[in-house]
């Protein structure tokens, strides 16, 4: 059993960077190992938070959708989406429902740009919060 997968991935990245990369004998293999290290660090940071971040995005999007009137296009489709819950809390079904939420958000945002400056600003704020939650902390990025 690996009790802390995120930390384990980060430890593996560190092991490659500090112990294995210096022993590689070409610039190309060292660069490739560096990229793999970067990917492992990315996965390490996303492992614990991925489901929670998507759920939090949907919570904020749903709260915003709940305030919208029927004059905002695709009202019925949005209501159908709002009635849904992920089939499970595994990453794939949560990501699939999150994709639906984002598709509706794109439509609402396009409408708000033309008709509702307050809603437009609220969506940008929501996107900013989403982006901060999903930010990666990587060297030189």
């Amino acid at each position: 059993m690996i009790p802390a997968p995120g930390k384990t991935l980060a430890d593996l990245a560190l092991r490659i960077a500090t112990d294995l990369m210096p022993a590689l004998n070409t610039e190309f293999t060292q660069a490739d190992a560096g990229l793999i290290t970067g990917l492992l660090l990315t996965m390490a940071q996303d492992y614990e938070r991925a489901v929670d971040n998507r759920m939090q995005d949907m919570q904020e999007i749903n709260a915003l959708f709940a305030k919208l009137g029927a004059d905002v296009p695709r009202h019925e489709a949005r209501q159908t989406y709002l009635a849904k819950a992920p089939a499970s809390y595994h990453l794939d079904p949560v990501t699939a429902l999150h994709g639906e939420a984002f598709e509706h958000l794109i439509d609402v945002h396009a409408w708000a740009e033309e008709h509702d400056a307050t809603l437009d600003a609220a969506i940008w704020e929501l996107l900013r919060a989403h982006s901060e939650r999903n930010k990666f902390d990587l060297p030189n990025m």
Binding site: E27, H98, L105, I106, A110, A117, I123, M141
Partner: protein, 345 residues
């Protein structure tokens, strides 16, 4: 998968026939960072004289879907005209032969490196201003030339450069995105609403003019500009905006790790003899981030669905989308905090 020795011997044999010379392999190394082509540095003996060449071979899958002949012919035109320093093109071979995939070969430009990280080394610090000045002078100089003076008649001439580019990259985003992209879609709508008029001057656009795509010396000289696979005829402001995108520097305030953005723009204006139309330039700055995110989206799709599992595709398609999204947010959000991108110039 072929081993390095086999690739080197095959290239030496090919060049021997091409030149009608005795050509022997002395050494070969794969060069990292070639996201669109596999790149190899090959040392040869040609009739007893040492000679370095660079082999660019098609990969099974690429970060940018481009035609090798387009890139090679651009090198030929630029090298012939001298509009920018580029490596001397030697040969383009489109049939696979012993090297299994199509390839091109160029002369080695000795004494240069392309690494963006190398610019952060203490020894380079005294040379960054000189290097930055040269970088944007070269770009400004190229903007002076009329495209029809460069021998690039294999390139299409767009009726409306901005609309043409927007159409192409919108399609990339819409066809390749694995997950809906609300920030990129908001940026696409902004670009649609703010489309500038066609430019009065069309020029050759490099298409990926950034730190990492030129060879520089220890003394701050630019020895060669590389990676012309996205070159096209268009608005010269496109290259200027792309070169200033915050993504190319970990430092928020310096373009390409070299100079403050406003300084780079002033150098370009002086070299090109043009005054930047700030409304049009704002459009091209947003476009630069959208084009970049389209490339990262496309690379993510390629990594997931393609045949190759090159880690560069996954890095581009994951943390780089994240960073580019934050740059776009900072530039388009009405309440921007400018944490990741300065205000548009």
């Amino acid at each position: 998968m072929q081993d390095l020795e086999h690739i080197g011997r095959s290239a030496a044999s090919y060049l021997g026939k091409h030149w009608g010379a005795d050509c022997q392999l002395r050494g070969i190394a794969q060069i990292p960072g070639g996201a669109s082509r596999e790149t190899y540095l090959i040392q040869l003996d040609r009739n007893g004289d040492p000679l370095g060449v660079v082999l660019r071979r098609d990969p099974p899958s690429s970060l940018i879907d481009t035609e090798r002949a387009h890139e090679y012919n651009t090198y030929v035109a630029i090298h012939h005209h001298g509009a920018m320093p580029v490596p001397e093109p030697i040969v383009l071979e489109e049939s696979p032969g012993d090297l299994e995939r199509p390839f091109s070969i160029m002369a080695l430009v000795p004494g240069g490196q392309a690494s963006p990280g190398g610019l952060d080394e203490p020894d380079m610090q005294p040379h960054l201003k000189k290097l930055g000045t040269r970088k944007w002078q070269l770009l400004g100089n190229m903007a002076r030339y009329s495209y029809d003076a460069l021998g690039i008649d294999f390139m299409d001439v767009p009726e409306h450069a901005a609309a043409h580019e927007l159409t192409y990259w919108r399609e990339v985003i819409n066809s390749d995105a694995l997950h809906p992209q609300p920030i990129a879609q908001a940026a696409l709508r902004w670009l649609e609403r703010h489309l500038p008029p066609p430019p009065t001057h069309l020029a050759l656009v490099h298409g990926d003019y950034r730190t990492g795509n030129y060879l520089y010396s220890d003394e701050g000289e630019i020895l060669a500009v590389l990676d012309w696979e996205m070159a096209h005829i268009g608005d010269p402001l496109e290259d200027l905006a792309w070169s200033l995108d915050p993504l190319w520097s970990p430092d928020l305030h310096h373009a390409g790790r070299l100079l403050p953005r406003a300084d780079a723009l002033a150098i370009w204006e002086e070299a090109s003899g043009m005054t930047v139309d700030r409304d049009a330039f704002r459009w091209w700055q947003i476009f630069a981030s959208v084009k970049a995110i389209a490339i990262w989206i496309s690379s993510a799709e390629d990594y997931v669905n393609g045949t190759t599992k090159e880690p560069i595709l996954a890095i581009a398609g994951w943390p780089m989308i994240d960073r580019q999204n934050r740059i776009l947010l900072d530039r388009l959000s009405p309440e921007s905090r400018h944490q990741y991108a300065e205000a548009l110039l």
